[in-house]
Amino acid sequence: MLIIRHLKKSYHYGSSDKPVTPILVDVSMELGKGEMAFLVGPSGVGKSTLLKMIYLEEKPDSGEVILGPFNFTHIKKNQIPVLRRQLGVIFQDFKLIPERTARENIALALEVVGKSKKEISSRVTDLLRLVGLLDRRNNYPDQLSGGECQRVAIARALANEPLLLLADEPTGNLDHDNSQSLLELLGRINVRGCSILMATHNIALIAQMPYRKLFLSNGKIRENEN
């Protein structure tokens, strides 16, 4: 379902005639439908860059990204929103809108795609139930704990039933118990059929998890490396 072939990405620092710093040298990987995998590597190795190229915040220098029927190489600007509706993204810092309640933050993802009020209400209730926050639906992000904020972010990411959920260091701001609880939640979501690619530097946290581990180092991906 997600196919990445020979992806390259370098950054120019300062003016364009300065030397480039290669981040991704030759990244290739595949993720099947309903599959869950961890993208592992130390900070600064390019995990977030790779995810950004999947959710189209950045363009690769070369290579191909294919998600379902979409080949990103040939995608037009006006197709980007359509493609992003096939993706859910969660971040270390949750990225919840502070002046909206948990319910409103989740509903936003449904409003932008033109769902009816009734559909939104029903879907938001389902999602809040899934992440265990139905009773906190009217709380604002600053009234929720870090773990709860991340659950709201997950609910928002799942709102449009994406093909793929991308998680960029989602446990980075959580304690061990909340991190474990979040991984269990992601596992339950994966069982429902949603593919998940989660970037993390915390190898200890995921060591015992029964999912694929893709190690990113020196700009390349290797699988199941010790």
Partner: protein, 286 residues
């Protein structure tokens, strides 16, 4: 949910988030458009005054006391043939004296033993005579006609009014351009600051698949509302001002319904364009 409902809701959310800034922008646009509107009204009134004077424009051609009937008839033919002269009326000495008495009272002529007033022609002019230097040419040519003693006219008021009109028009146009730029800049700046403050909302909306039109429409509406409210306030203030001026000082023409609509729509469009430019400039950063 409908696109329009969401646009209005998001716009109101953005306005309430930065209400003081929104209010400040409305007041600044109000002041800018008030100045532009004042110039428009002044220009319109000067123009109307000139048109009125032009339509009432006339000359008095005083004839020599010893003019013979043949010369007078020739002069009359020449006047009738002139393209800038619409009508002529011959005023006898008695008629002139009667008019003087009507105008200033019988005391004015009480001491007169003989009628000192000359025969004359009252000439109604075509308004086109005030274009370029036609009037001066006409007066010069009339002085050259046999039998003409003198010519009475009030060209200075018209020429001065025309000069003021030109000045006010140039100033008005300059102010208009400045107000357009200022309004666009004020609205654009407010939208830019609002977007900067709401960049997380922008980012999240893009991430969850919102189209650019969905993201930008609330801010376009906000810019439109700033300039619409600003121009409505200034139109209201100008209306009150002209009413007060008309009642207490001198009768002043206000903008017509079409001019008022054009003024409001024009200002609102400037706000819309200003916010569109701001959106293009700022939104690409987030």
């Amino acid at each position: 949910m409908t696109f329009i409902f969401l646009t209005i809701r998001e716009s109101l959310r953005a306005i309430s988030h930065r209400f003081i800034s929104f209010l400040g922008s409305v007041l600044t646009v109000f002041l800018a458009t008030l100045i532009a509107g004042s110039f428009a009204i002044v220009t319109k009134n000067i123009s109307a005054s000139i048109d009125k004077l032009k339509s009432e424009a006339s000359l008095e051609i005083y004839l020599e006391s010893d003019i013979d009937s043949l010369t007078r008839e020739k002069l009359q033919d020449l006047l009738v043939a002139n393209k800038y002269i619409l009508r002529i009326k011959f005023i006898t000495k008695d008629m002139a004296l009667y008019k003087l008495r009507e105008a200033f009272g019988p005391e004015m002529i009480a001491g007169l033993k003989t009628n000192p007033l000359p025969e004359s022609y009252e000439v109604t002019l075509d308004p086109s005579v005030y274009e370029k230097d036609n009037f001066e040419k006409l007066v010069d040519s009339l002085y050259g006609f046999a039998g003409v003693e003198d010519i009475g006219y009030v060209p200075t008021i018209i020429s001065r009014l025309k000069m003021i009109f030109r000045l006010v028009t140039v100033l008005g146009l300059t102010m208009g351009v400045l107000v357009i730029v200022a309004t666009g800049f004020i609205v654009g700046n407010t939208i830019g600051v609002t977007i900067s403050e709401r960049r997380l909302t922008f980012y999240i909306m893009r991430l969850v698949g919102a189209s650019e039109s969905f993201i930008s429409s609330p801010y376009l509406l906000m810019g439109f509302l700033i300039s619409l409210l600003g121009s409505l306030l200034s139109i209201g203030m100008l209306k009150i001002g002209t009413m007060y001026f008309s009642n207490h000082v001198i009768s002043v023409n206000y903008l017509s319904a079409i001019e008022t609509i054009c003024f409001i729509v024009g200002c609102s469009m400037v706000g819309l364009v200003g916010s569109h430019i701001a959106l293009r400039k700022y939104s690409e950063r987030f």
